[in-house]
Symmetry: C2
Subunit: 256 residues, 2 copies
DNA sequence: CCGTGTGAAGAACTTCACAGCG
DNA sequence: CGCTGTGAAGTTCTTCACACGG
């Protein structure tokens, strides 16, 4: 995992890539590229073209090239990218070289599942501690980890150098938990509770809300259904996956 | 929840509200507004200003007003929005009036948690069926629902009018499951498996990948750490990512 | 006079298309 | 010759700032 010296880098002395201040949209896609690259590496590919990687990651190739160009990446014209090298570059940019310690708060339904999720471990993170406010759950062992009471957060935060907090509590407790995480120095939070968290500047929060995802899908379902209900005039009314019903999609008939 | 007849809508005959073709970014925020509105309603608010709702939803108020204006919403100048009315409007636009049937495929770790997640039911969806490919799991009852073998998907899809599929299988099986869902007419998929799905035009896929969320947070952690390592001068070049650096934040020292 | 609704300016992101390097 | 890297054009989204209605 040592840093490579790329051929042709006009590097001043021992300087490395330097933080390129990536566009947020690019940052959000890098992990997907990384996953695709690992997959390619496992299947024996040593290099990959922008076209190939873009297909694997489900994006358009121009976008991929621009993204990679932002990290000053080094592909070879006429050939493509070196898979292993690109993996290293992206991991380095994402700061994945150091297995950050993750604290998971809330071991209910979802928390249990997250605690057992192998993807965290395999993709650069270490679940370092589990917490819950419910004392009847404290002491329980999940996947080799013991559940601590949330009051122990300060002590363990220091011991484990907690870097990221994952909140999997009910919405009602989420803000309090966030406050406690912030208080012990955590500056990155992944929030699964369906609520907005208030945090100081400098703390990053990302939110995952399962119901919201479904609602967005619902909108598109809804729209697709009402489009098929329209006469020909619509946007090249070919495809039509559902039955080409001239009447409204049965699913959509309601209310009114 | 029948749709209201808004004053002033030039609705043709039995035509439905007319789909205003919302910007995707707006669609993605509507569910959050909706959640905030429900919260406001529960706490007795009858009206809310754009400022107030924006604060509750964690966005800027100009954005909120523009979003709502896209749905031809009706606020009252000098007053704000009628909470109950706005809830209805948004639910109608999102197509939440009809409790779509959701199929959940894969009842492993995560699938179990999702099957038990109350938020689906409370926010417009009905988990209509559980599936798994593992016959040792078939028959198991989770949260009042029996696990069916995936081969029964065609039959049940018709019986239950499945509208949305949720994939919570390992990555290796996800594409096959997606194909089966598409084959039975499902045109909206929420994918929790860490892989890209290929689907025909007209099928919507949304992806939730927990590790990706953490990796994005990791990037920001990483960047924050290297910024604090800098002297006053600001974010100009300097800091190196991997080793080499003249001491960075302790948390950051690794790799090399 | 307050807060919505909105044109217009601005920022961010995507896509195109092609120069140029290996 | 093929594929990367990138200016430039195009699109979408955000923010500003203010006219206007209740």
């Amino acid at each position: 995992m040592s840093q490579h010296r790329h051929p042709g880098v006009p590097s001043r002395a021992g300087a490395v890539p330097a933080l390129p201040d990536l566009p947020e949209a690019t940052v959000a896609r890098l992990p997907e590229y990384l996953r695709s690259l690992h997959q390619l590496a496992e299947t024996g590919h040593e290099t990959v073209s922008s076209e190939g990687l873009a297909a694997a990651a489900g994006v358009n190739s121009a976008k991929l090239r621009k993204d990679l160009s932002h990290l000053g990446s080094y592909g070879t014209r006429g050939v493509g990218y070196d898979v292993a090298l690109l993996i290293e570059q992206i991991e380095s940019v994402l700061g994945l070289n150091q297995r950050r310690a993750v604290a998971l708060v809330g071991v209910g339904n979802l928390g249990h599942a997250l605690a057992g999720y192998a993807g965290f471990a395999s993709r650069g993170f270490r679940i370092a501690a589990l917490f819950d406010a419910d004392r009847t759950r404290v002491g329980e062992e999940i996947n080799g980890l013991v559940v601590h009471h949330i009051d122990e957060l300060p002590r363990i935060a220091v011991e484990e150098r907690l870097a990221i907090g994952v909140i999997a509590t009910p919405a009602g407790s989420a803000q309090a938990v966030a406050d406690q995480l912030v208080a012990v120095g955590v500056t990155s939070i992944l929030n699964f509770a369906p609520c907005v968290l208030a945090v100081p500047d400098g703390v990053d929060v990302r939110k995952v809300d399962l119901a919201i995802e479904l609602q967005i899908l619902s909108f598109h379902e809804h729209r697709k259904a009402s489009l098929t209900a329209l006469p020909g005039s619509g946007p090249s009314a070919l495809t039509s996956l559902a039955g080409g019903a001239p009447t409204t999609d049965p699913q959509e008939a309601i209310g009114t």
